[in-house]
């Protein structure tokens, strides 16, 4: 699979990343190379193979519905780059 710049830009948008033109070219080349290699998977017949998203078959790990104390707010906000009035602060969201 060979990627074009339009697709690279779409992936930038999805990933919330911005690359320089030079980086874009490099990523385009790298990802195209990687995906061409990945395309070798098409040699494998996977008809009727159940996709495996977990390494094992366990199910049902539940927690009891019990309330435990929350964290001290200072600890939650401790690492925030910007905060105000006990909240994280961000530029205005537009809707």
């Amino acid at each position: 699979m060979i990627l074009d710049i339009k697709l690279i830009e779409y992936l930038e948008e999805l990933s919330r990343l911005k690359l320089s033109d030079e980086e874009k070219e490099k990523v385009k080349k790298d990802l195209s190379g990687i995906l061409s290699y990945v395309d070798s998977l098409n040699e494998l017949d996977t008809t009727d193979v159940e996709p495996m998203s977990h390494p094992f078959d366990f199910t049902n790990n539940f927690r009891k519905d019990e309330v435990k104390p929350s964290f001290d707010r200072e600890l939650i906000l401790k690492n925030a780059p910007k905060k105000k009035d006990g909240c994280f602060q961000v530029p205005k969201t537009v809707e």
Binding site: L3, S40, L44, E50, N61, V90
Partner: protein, 492 residues
């Protein structure tokens, strides 16, 4: 024999016998870190004051007669993607250059409860993405055997620190070989546990269905001891397995008699360095001479492990790393004014190129129109690989394989060619895809005098058996000891 040559259990015994105090042990290693790490760069954070304080506390517990683990008072280090309360946990990324978690990872809680003395946090590839520790925001870690070369990765800091005698043992994490490959490059031993064996609570996620925390030590006996401490069910990790405990009580009799060891012949074909091949097959022969039975067979589907791994690991990573957006913690760009600017600029400035590449690759394989062709195909391949291992373990107890196709390469040699770098993971990633355990131990040196490692791969929760074979091997070889001898007289 110097302290730095001793295993963690040996030091633990000395502490218990009062041959040395916890503080003396910690001090000795801190001195060694100060002397050598300026150049080696295996640490992101050194905890001198805190480490000595912790040593005193452990000493007090021991003096009061508290029954602690055989590792009590032994200094150690923790990979920088494992959360340590109030201590920088950067994942070697600018993105988390100032992040101090308000909590400890489960493995950290357990190792500290056992009396560990934490001397610092070790360098790694940024967010564990890489096999050379070159993608770290804090600069590359060097291989203790040759400063021109990489220590492997992503747990390169942990492996180099143990290899150079800066700590007797360390914790690492393994998503696609990140414990085993640096162990192989640095001449030390390590275990990638069965998925679900060690709680991932507090391990900063790279690829959630593949990540495992594991031990890196001077020999496999140390590693088994560390693993018994950090493993076990944890309610906070839904994927942590219930009702299982490691039992290594039969692992140290030094015998491999009757063990059936498989050799997948396709693992030893094209692309494998001759010196590595010779060393690993030499080890297989020795195990046979010691009483094991060898079986040859093919596992062709494992040849497809690398593409399947990069699809799955990058897909999960693209989602796991979305939370780094400049709002809650870590780096926030001052450029731009809008909300979108904060997201895009913080992420673009905060992540290095390899991380960006993998996030974009992961976004691609999950994006609408490509999901079935890539992500689903990757998961199906994963199922086939798991099946192939299941079939192999019907024939044999374990598989012997190289860890990496080469020994440590030069810094800068592969970094510009990601695909070449990814192909170096050919022998390790299948183990993570299948969720099974593997032990990595030194098995020789190449023509340049660089260490070679082998791995023993086993069925789910067969660590005790793998350790038994690796321990017997280490009883009959001195590669793991020669490594340290060599460093003293050699490049260090």
């Amino acid at each position: 024999m110097e302290l730095y040559d001793k295993t963690a259990l040996e030091i633990g015994r000395m502490i218990k016998n009062k041959d040395i105090s916890c503080r003396e042990a910690a001090k000795a290693y801190i001195e060694n870190i100060k002397a050598k790490d300026g150049e080696l760069n295996s640490f992101v954070t050194v905890l001198e004051e805190e480490g000595l304080k912790q040593a005193d506390e452990v000493q007090k517990r021991l003096d009061l007669g508290e029954e602690l683990s055989p590792l009590a008072g032994v200094p150690m280090a923790i990979k920088d993607n494992i959360c340590t309360k109030d201590v920088l946990t950067s994942c070697s990324s600018k993105m988390l250059y100032n992040f101090k978690p308000p909590y400890n990872a489960c493995a950290v809680e357990k190792i500290e409860a056992a009396g560990a003395v934490v001397l610092g946090k070790t360098n790694m590839d940024e967010f564990a993405m890489g096999g050379s520790t070159e993608t770290s925001y804090y600069g590359a870690t060097k291989n203790p055997y040759d400063y021109e070369r990489v220590p492997g990765g992503s747990s390169g800091g942990s492996a180099a620190a143990v290899g150079a005698g800066l700590v007797p043992y360390a914790l690492g994490s393994d998503t696609g070989g990140s414990i085993r490959q640096p162990c192989s490059f640095c001449g030390v031993s390590g275990i990638k546990p069965t998925y679900g064996g060690v709680s991932r609570y507090g391990l900063v996620a790279f690829a959630s269905s593949l990540d495992q925390i594991g031990p890196i030590g001077k020999d496999v006996r140390d590693c088994a001891e560390i693993l018994s401490v950090i493993s076990g069910h944890d309610r906070r990790d839904s994927t942590s397995v219930k009702g299982f405990e490691y039992d290594f009580s039969d692992s140290f009799d030094g015998s491999v008699k009757g063990l059936k060891i498989g050799i997948p012949t396709n693992f030893y074909g094209e692309g494998l360095n001759e010196d590595v091949k010779t060393s690993v097959l030499g080890a297989a022969k020795l195990l046979k001479d010691m009483g094991a039975e060898l079986y040859e067979f093919e596992m062709p589907v494992v040849d497809y492990a690398v593409p399947a791994y990069y699809i799955i690991a990058c897909a999960e990573a693209s989602s796991n790393l979305s939370r780094y957006d400049g709002i809650k913690y870590g780096y926030r760009s001052n450029e731009g004014e809008s909300l979108l600017d904060v997201f895009v600029n913080s992420r673009s400035e905060g992540f290095g190129m390899e991380v960006k590449r993998r996030i974009m690759l992961g976004s691609f394989v999950l994006s609408s129109g490509y999901y079935d062709a890539y992500y689903k195909k990757g998961l199906q391949t994963r199922a086939l690989i798991k099946k192939s291992f299941n079939e192999a373990f019907e024939k044999c107890d374990m598989i012997i394989s190289p860890v990496a196709p080469t020994t440590a390469f030069k810094i800068g040699e592969n970094i510009t060619d990601p695909l070449k770098m990814y192909l170096g993971d050919i022998y390790t990633v299948a183990v993570n895809l299948a969720g099974i355990p593997a032990v990595s131990v030194p098995c020789g040196f190449d023509g340049k005098g660089l260490p070679v490692g082998l791995q023993l791969i086993g069925q789910t929760f067969s660590e005790a058996k793998l350790v038994k074979a690796a321990y017997a091997y280490q009883q009959n070889t001195d590669w793991h000891k020669r490594a340290f001898e060599k460093m003293k007289g050699g490049s260090l």
